[in-house]
Symmetry: C2
Subunit: 159 residues, 2 copies
């Protein structure tokens, strides 16, 4: 649905196009995100200061590598199904209607769909400059450069 100026007014989240690039990670990590589908929503409306994605996780897939941001705040709301939130304090099952927030420098986190049904959720993250993402379980560091990410080994060597 568009308005008189052909700006998008509203869209059903299921109708939003999926992101063309399945993962920003370098290999071997990108392939570990197989099956995950991200539908950018905020970008469709020209939003800049934060991103909103609709994410679908089929059984056996994960949201991301376990990570925390140095600057970015993040928030998720589960829409359908159930996911396991893996955090520094353990694991917590989130079902539809549950939310979690991840302040910068807070717990590392990622989601796993260990159920037999598709799960979906909304993820929100700000886009402040100077951000880095650290991955306590993997040899990876991500540095925000412009609108993208530059990936390094923990040694500082580029991927």
């Amino acid at each position: 649905m568009t308005d008189a100026k052909n700006a998008l007014v509203a869209i059903r989240v299921d109708d939003a196009p999926a992101r063309v690039k399945p993962s920003n990670y370098p290999e071997p990590f990108a392939s570990m995100m197989g099956g995950r589908v991200k539908r950018p929503l905020g970008d469709l409306f020209g939003l800049n200061s934060f991103g909103v994605n609709h994410v679908t996780l089929p059984p056996g897939t994960v949201s991301a590598l376990n990570h925390r941001h140095s600057v970015q705040d993040e928030f998720i709301l589960v829409l359908t199904g159930a996911v396991v939130l893996v955090h520094d304090g353990g694991e917590t099952v989130l079902t539809a209607g549950m939310c979690a927030g991840f302040p910068h420098d807070g717990t590392a986190h990622h989601l796993e769909n260990r159920s037999d049904a598709v799960a979906s959720y909304i993820e929100i993250g700000d886009r402040q400059s100077g951000d880095t993402a650290s991955y306590p379980r993997d040899d990876l560091v991500a540095v925000r450069v412009g609108n993208g990410w530059q990936f390094q080994h923990k040694s500082g060597a580029p991927y």
Copy 2:
């Protein structure tokens, strides 16, 4: 659910406490928001760069005065029921599973529940400094001051 450090890990949105102050607007506008219930979610997790609220709109209630921001980007996702999005291009009915984004300096907007059933949605807005909200249909201007809003008449006189 809290973790070992007593930080909140996750919460069902219906279990989040409702905002104590029903509306930030001065009268006569505050009373026009009667029935609307906002549950701040992002604040529960210590998120700073954007706010996330769960909002419940019973039949006959509205989300806000028709407004646009000069700096803040906003996004909504309807979770249950149906609302009418009133925007510069007309009116668009949004049902559960539909979303809309409002970039700063874009269309003015607000939601009305004209149905017989309760509607609910998630709203997200960034918290960048220097923001103002303008209200094309009302004698009101809001200026962001710290974490709050200062309300003026269009003449500049304070409320």
